[in-house]
């Protein structure tokens, strides 16, 4: 297959125009909070009105179902010729707030959506309004061209991904389940183009698709005691007992293993690893498992790939220095690898502490996601599409340490892939950082048209006989 050039193949796509659309989206402060209290819903209403104005064809031709008030589920009805299940493209409308006290560190208004120095500035310009924007750009373009998919395409834009996604994607997935809507593949936000995670592949361009998300657990460890005045302490205070529990939990690391997605990652990227020893070992990842783990687990990222991680983060004791704590609490954050469940982690922690008077409470918990196969047609089509634009890119699966809305659709889809159409790798070399969840979040303007082209091509390939043919 000849190398596809975005500019030649899609001359009408204009990065600056897409940047203006994205900038417009950034101006809406679409923020929610865990308590769902005091939310300014008019921002979401304004945002959706803006989408209607900017993508008129999409709104005219696609069927829109509102879920949970503000989550948008679009159905683009296909010809049905292929007899294939639909595909789902996801993104989310909500953004995280600007951390109080950091406002002054922004070079440009976080909600200004300004286009300056080749960037679209502001909160959401990368996470995740860029993906949302590019999805709509692709659909609008294809509609304009009269494209008719041979299967249904769904778009889902949640409104509360950053606070768990229960009311948005959670409800949307339940809606699909109840209405018998099943998907062949789901595409949601994820890594995409990069130069290696946990391994050094030098200049090799990787295209990383997360086929797995680690589980999540915030576990509160609490010790109670009768308290009292600090002038007559017992041998150990509640906080002292708690400290012992924390040390035991930290000392008892979870067993390390190479999850399938990491194995596949190392097999695919192995030949490009700079370190000779590791490269050689990766020729037989399964056979050299122990040695590979030993090398990779020298870094926190490598450790996080190989095991359920343990991070003691928060702590609280007495309200005053001279009062014995009646209750001392710590929060330990775990990220679960496929072999664990929330329940098994709690059990493991209980055994490590070995003291039933220590209370364990699950504050937030979700099991690890399923692991999606890389042998699916959708994965192959996606890989072909990426390689059409970037023949040099090595498409690899991996697991995500964080979470996305997409896992909620596991009930209605076996193949959930987390990726990004945007190639930021060249800009990162020059010091560009996305600033997602941080300060000075920004998108590279000239990356936008090629990214739209990639999504257009991906939709086309997924939804035509020729496209799917390998």
């Amino acid at each position: 297959m000849a190398k596809l050039d975005a500019k030649t193949a899609y001359p009408e796509l204009d990065s600056m125009e897409i940047a203006r659309h994205l900038g417009g989206m950034v101006t809406y402060k679409t923020m929610v909070n865990k308590e769902y209290a005091g939310i300014d819903w008019s921002q979401f209403e304004g945002f959706q009105k803006y989408l209607r104005e900017t993508y008129p064809l999409t709104h005219e031709k696609l069927e829109l179902t509102m879920i949970g008030g503000y989550t948008m589920l679009f159905r683009w009805q296909g010809s049905g010729k292929s007899g294939k299940k639909p595909v789902l493209f996801m993104a989310h409308q909500d953004v995280v707030p600007v951390t109080p006290g950091t406002e002054g560190d922004w070079e440009h208004d976080p909600f200004g959506g300004e286009i300056i120095d080749g960037f679209v500035w502001g909160r959401g310009s990368t996470d995740c309004k860029s993906t949302l924007c590019l999805t709509l750009e692709a659909v609008e373009y294809l509609l304009k061209k009269g494209f008719v998919p041979d299967r249904d395409i769904y778009l889902e834009f949640g409104h509360d991904e950053e606070v768990g996604g229960e009311m948005g994607a959670g409800a949307a997935a339940r809606y699909c389940e109840e209405n018998g809507i099943q998907f062949d593949a789901v595409f949601d936000e994820g890594p995409g183009f990069n130069h290696g995670e946990g391994i050094d592949v030098g200049e090799t361009l990787l295209y990383t698709v997360n086929t797995f998300e680690k589980g999540y657990l915030d576990l509160e460890i609490a010790v109670n005691s009768k308290g009292g005045h600090s002038s007559k302490p017992e041998e150990h205070t509640a906080l002292g007992d708690l400290a012992r529990a924390i040390v035991k939990v930290e000392d008892r690391k979870f067993p390390a293993d190479i999850p399938l997605c990491v194995q596949q990652y190392l097999e695919a990227a192995g030949p490009y690893i700079q370190d000779e020893e590791l490269r050689t070992l990766c020729a037989d990842v399964v056979g050299n498992k122990e040695k590979i783990m030993e090398i990779m687990m020298r870094t926190p990222t490598g450790c996080a790939m190989m095991r359920t991680t343990t991070a003691a983060t928060m702590a609280a004791g007495s309200p005053a220095p001279n009062v014995l704590p009646q209750r001392a609490t710590a929060i330990v954050n775990f990220r679960l690898n496929p072999s664990e469940t929330v329940e098994s982690v709690v059990e493991y922690v209980r055994e490590a502490i070995g003291d039933d008077s220590v209370e364990l409470t699950v504050l937030n918990g979700k099991d690890p996601s399923n692991m999606s196969s890389i042998d699916s047609e959708a994965f192959a089509v996606m890989k072909k599409t990426v390689n059409a634009f970037f023949p040099e890119a090595v498409v690899v699966p991996l697991g995500s340490l964080g979470g996305t809305d997409s896992r909620r659709f596991e009930t209605v889809c076996p193949h959930v892939y987390r990726l990004s159409p945007i190639n930021n790798a060249p800009y990162k070399k020059n010091g560009y950082t996305s600033g997602a969840h941080g300060t000075n979040e920004k998108a590279v303007v000239e990356s936008l048209a090629p990214a739209a082209a990639l999504y257009i091509e991906l939709m086309k390939n997924l939804c035509t006989q020729e496209g799917r043919a390998l």
Binding site: H236, E250, P300, T313, A315, P321, P325, A330, R335
Partner: protein, 462 residues
């Protein structure tokens, strides 16, 4: 149980108007003299009200004494003596301020905390045992003696701090004032030790009066652990909080060395035969030779452990502000109470060795050394003992130390003999109400305490 009211043999000062004493304390309680570290922020109204009430109620005291207002609201009275005795002055103390009622507990009081209700033979309200009782008894005693034409043979000072509960800047200033005037004090009486039922000390059948001759030091120390922070999904081997937890465990595993301070050695030498616990009783018969065993026994209870060593109490902790963010800084607050053998410097050295991790930063938030230990072989100590025996011939008077702090320590610059003793049984009987709910004192205890104060002043100054 021994009844202190029945056992009292003292019959003097029969003309003391007991109802008036109770009424006066009732009024004194009605001024909500709550202190604030910041004098500007403090409501001085109740302090001025109290001052006016005292002037009106104790006219002779105010006629015969010089009074100075120090540090805004503290008061120093001097009752000039004849000087015939050639003795150094004595200093009686009390503090005017009280702690507030814990918000939300107001309804739990049988009588409102600042109404000074007299009911069921008690005066109810905040300050009834901490320590407007002592303040009242001191004024009553002086007024009583003045009414009867008594002239002390030496100066009697009365120092009434206004902010003992929040640091004691008034006492510091008053002590400094005395120092500048070149006043040297023979002995001081302040809150602390008191007459009590022996049960408090594991001796059921006796009454015991403790005179506290030292108070422990205090240190709030923070242990600070730092790390680069970041997202909790890639934590590495440990976090700042994990490192801190190790330090806490190491610190608790390494208590400060044990040694029974001399005042407690004398306490147990005296108390030995009366102790309920046969093991303790036996050890006390040969305390110098069986000290190790005795200390081991004391260590078994928090109370005993606090006697024998500088205590370690890990009380507070802070980590990351968010569940899924690695702490950039994790902090533990540890509260120590220093025995006289230790200093803040030696404590820090011990902590440093125990933790054995230079990456943990130590920050002293607040610290004071243990007080000096006042001698027990003085005429003043003997005088308090004698007076108590005039009231209770069988009562055992023994020295000890205080775990907490009082204003009296601040007078070390002008006095070697600081005796923390106030003559009220109810301070221990109702100790749960001290800084708590339903603080009160029985009228019988109040008037007996008043008589004890009259007797002490009279004996000390003639």
């Amino acid at each position: 149980m021994v009844d202190e009211n029945k056992l009292c043999v003292f019959t003097g000062y029969g003309d003391l108007d007991e109802a008036a004493v109770a009424d006066h304390l009732s009024h004194i309680i009605q001024f909500p003299t709550i202190a604030d570290r910041d004098l500007e922020a403090m409501d001085i109204g109740p302090f001025l009200g109290l001052r006016g009430y005292l002037e009106k109620t104790y006219p002779l005291v105010h006629q015969n004494c010089e009074r100075e207002i120090i540090a805004g609201a503290s008061m120093l009275y001097r009752w000039p003596g004849s000087g015939k005795g050639g003795k150094k002055p004595i200093l009686l103390m009390a503090h005017q301020d009280v702690v507030p009622v814990t918000p939300g507990t107001e309804e739990d009081w049988q009588h409102p905390a600042f109404d000074g209700v007299i009911a069921d033979g008690h005066v109810w309200g905040r300050g009834a045992i901490d320590m407007k009782n002592m303040l009242c008894a001191e004024f009553e005693a002086m007024e009583y003696l003045m009414q009867r034409g008594f002239t002390p043979d030496r100066d009697v000072y009365l120092a009434l701090g206004h902010d003992e509960e929040v640091g004691g800047s008034g006492a510091v200033a008053t002590a400094q004032h005395l120092l500048e005037q070149g006043v040297e004090i023979d002995f001081i009486m302040d809150e602390g030790g008191k007459p009590a039922h022996g049960e408090d000390f594991g001796a059921s059948d006796v009454l015991v009066a403790t005179i506290s001759v030292f108070e422990k030091g205090y240190c709030d120390l923070q242990l600070i652990s730092r790390s680069p922070g970041g997202h909790s999904n890639r934590p590495g081997k440990t976090t700042a909080l994990g490192e801190l937890a190790k330090a806490i465990v190491a610190l608790e595993a390494s208590p400060m060395p044990a040694e029974l301070p001399e005042p407690f050695v004398r306490f147990y030498s005296l108390m030995g035969p009366y102790l309920d616990d046969p093991r303790m009783r036996e050890l006390c018969t040969d305390l110098p030779n069986r000290m190790e065993e005795f200390i081991a026994l004391l260590e078994e209870t928090p109370q005993g452990n606090a006697m024998v060593r500088t205590t370690t109490a890990v009380t507070q902790a802070w980590g990351s502000p968010v569940n899924n963010v690695l702490p950039q800084k994790a902090v533990a607050g540890v509260n120590f109470r220093l025995n006289p053998r230790d200093t803040v410097a030696s404590l820090l050295e011990h902590v440093r060795k125990a933790i054995h991790n230079d990456a943990i930063e130590l920050r002293v938030v607040e610290a004071r050394e243990a007080s000096r230990v006042s001698p027990t072989d003085t005429p003043a100590y003997a005088l308090i003992e004698e007076v108590m025996h005039e009231f209770y011939p069988e009562l055992i008077v023994a020295s000890n130390g205080l775990l907490g702090g009082t204003d009296s320590r601040k007078y070390e610059c002008v006095c070697d003999n600081i005796y923390r003793f106030y003559p009220f049984f109810d301070t221990s009987k109702y100790r749960a109400s001290l800084h708590g709910t339903n603080e009160r004192i029985s009228v019988s205890d109040l008037v007996r305490g008043t008589r004890i104060m009259i007797r002490i002043i009279e004996k000390a100054c003639q």
